[in-house]
């Protein structure tokens, strides 16, 4: 019985590794020597090289793009949490007029197609002289990261018993103190989940980033990857290396912060 269980577990892992094969194949491509790239078989190259990573890091615009993506995603996350936490608290705890309509509007705004808002936003950002800046992307990314964050955090706050804050208030703590010392620690996992999803959504976003940027001053990783230049032929090895660099933060989040990621993913869907 135990044996059968172990074999079954192993089988599932093998199947999932096969499922993830496109990623591993790209990883292998990124360390294959140039001469072996367009030859198949053999599946495994005789020697490995870091030449593609060196080329990407030294001769492409990927390092600037990585910096832009990190900056934009971090700022988007801060904005979403900074504006979203007070709003979520108000929705979950205070007698706000039109609460239901507000929640509905938040959900509806997460369904707004970017292809519909991209043209007005383009004109708006151009008029504000914000094209090709981080600010433009942070504002544009707030359009999906902020409603998501408010929605998630309102749900998480709703789950924390109100009585905990009230008893702190009875003990003589001011409301602000009660929030800081009672609510905030309990909300920390929820903040982490919402923040991770906001970060990922900004890191991965392509349409706005592609449209509102014009140079390496603000081009993010997905844009740099989509526009990856080849002189005479497609540089598959360099593209593979650039893909791996673009996947690094999502990979770290999936491996190291999996629990918080899954919690956020579930909370967004299950509390409808």
């Amino acid at each position: 019985m135990r044996r059968a269980g172990l074999a079954r577990d192993a089988l599932v892992l093998v199947a999932l590794t096969a499922y993830a094969a496109p990623f591993f194949w790209q990883l292998l491509t990124s360390i294959k020597p140039e001469a072996d790239l367009l030859r198949l078989p053999p599946l495994l190259p005789a020697r490995l090289t870091l030449a593609h990573y060196r080329a990407v890091l030294e001769q492409s615009l990927m390092p600037q793009a990585l910096g832009n993506s990190l900056g934009v995603a971090a700022a988007t996350t801060l904005l979403a949490l900074g504006a979203g936490l007070p709003a979520a608290y108000a929705i979950a705890r205070l007698p706000v007029p039109g609460r239901r309509a507000l929640l509905l509007a938040l959900v509806a705004s997460t369904a707004f197609p970017q292809i519909a808002t991209v043209s007005p936003l383009y004109l708006l950002l151009r008029a504000l002289r914000l094209r090709d800046t981080w600010t433009a992307l942070v504002l544009a990314h707030a359009s999906f990261a902020l409603p998501l964050t408010v929605w998630l955090l309102a749900g998480f706050i709703h789950e924390i018993p109100r009585a905990l804050e009230e008893s702190a208030a009875v003990d003589g703590a001011s409301r602000a103190q009660a929030l800081r010392s009672v609510l905030l620690p309990l909300l920390a996992p929820g903040l982490a989940s919402a923040g991770l999803l906001a970060f990922l959504s900004s890191w991965n976003e392509f349409l706005f980033a592609y449209t509102f940027t014009a140079s390496e001053a603000s081009r993010t990783v997905p844009v740099a990857l989509a526009l990856f230049p080849g002189v005479f032929e497609v540089p598959w090895g360099d593209i593979a290396a650039a893909s791996m660099l673009a996947s690094l933060p999502p990979l770290l989040i999936v491996v190291a912060l999996q629990r918080a990621l899954v919690r956020g993913l579930l909370a967004g869907a299950v509390k409808e």
């Binding site: 999932l16 369904a111 708006l124 504002l139 997905p222 893909s243």
Partner: protein, 289 residues
């Protein structure tokens, strides 16, 4: 209303103000403006800017390229959502029995979902390479996946299914864990086989979460852009040109801001109609249950 309640109300609005202000600028305003833009001839490079009424919509009604994009969007959405649901449930069933290596299993699964769609497109472009692609090597074939009008859309669907089935799997998995083991055991004691147990016990309990997953995935599939834009650019011969790609071409390649906006508005209307229909359907079912 007591003074305290009044103060709380004021405080609530104050706390909401930054969010409402930001969303007003980046969502509500563009959402309304795009309707107005779609009623204009607007070609910034030539300085053209005049009212066009509904002429863009009239043009679209008789535009074969538009109807081809509608069809492509429908086929893409229906086939990728259906495949994601089936494969997602299978993955969830496999994971639910997993005792060891669960963290690793989830890492392998979630990676595809967490990476940028542009990376997915690059991964699959390389897998589909006619001469050096892994797929043709494994199949022993020499198919031109992205160049053959009959294969390109299925190839794009496959890449999208790969990317999004983890989402369905995680939702279904969480629901599976919440099903009491006694229920399944009772069915098996009553002599139900595994297939019968799945059909009559597990699947009905998964219904609601699968309906929600289907809603999210349908909305995303209708709005999908990155994967086809980067993988095929809408080609070959327009066979993978969805409404979003057509709208983008209108906006930023033909530089017809008014016309492109009209196509964007169609996507907008489509998404909102589907969302509304789903919500009505779900609540009707709930009130019956």
């Amino acid at each position: 209303m007591t003074p305290r309640e009044r103060a709380d109300r004021r405080r609530g609005l104050l706390l909401l103000a930054p969010t409402l202000a930001i969303l007003g600028v980046v969502t509500v305003y563009p959402g309304a403006w795009v309707l107005w833009l779609s009623l204009q001839h607007r070609i910034p490079v030539f300085g053209v800017e005049r009212f066009a009424g509904v002429s863009h919509y009239v043009f679209l009604a008789g535009d074969p390229r538009f109807w081809s994009a509608v069809w492509t969007t429908a086929v893409f959405t229906a086939s990728s959502v259906a495949l994601e649901l089936v494969l997602g449930v299978l993955a969830a069933l496999a994971l639910a029995g997993q005792r060891r290596g669960r963290h690793l299993a989830f890492s392998l699964l979630l990676l595809a979902w967490a990476m940028p769609a542009v990376v997915t497109a690059k991964l699959f472009e390389w897998l589909y390479h006619p001469a050096a692609g892994l797929l043709n090597f494994l199949l022993g074939a020499r198919l031109n996946w992205l160049g053959d009008p009959g294969l390109a859309l299925p190839a794009v669907v496959l890449a999208d299914v790969w990317r999004t089935l983890p989402f369905v799997a995680v939702l279904a998995y969480a629901r599976l864990l919440a099903i009491p083991a006694e229920l399944v055991e009772a069915a098996q004691v009553d002599g139900a086989g595994r297939a019968a147990t799945f059909r009559h016990v597990t699947l009905p309990l998964l219904r609601r979460i699968l309906a929600i997953a289907a809603l999210f995935r349908t909305l995303d599939a209708l709005r999908a852009f990155d994967i086809m834009f980067v993988l095929t650019g809408g080609g070959p011969a327009g066979t993978t040109e969805t409404l979003t790609v057509y709208a983008y071409r209108g906006l930023f390649q033909m530089l017809q801001l008014g016309f492109g906006s009209a196509v964007g508005v169609v996507v907008f209307a489509l998404v909102m109609t589907v969302a509304w229909a789903y919500v009505r359907l779900l609540s009707a079912e709930e009130s019956r249950a």
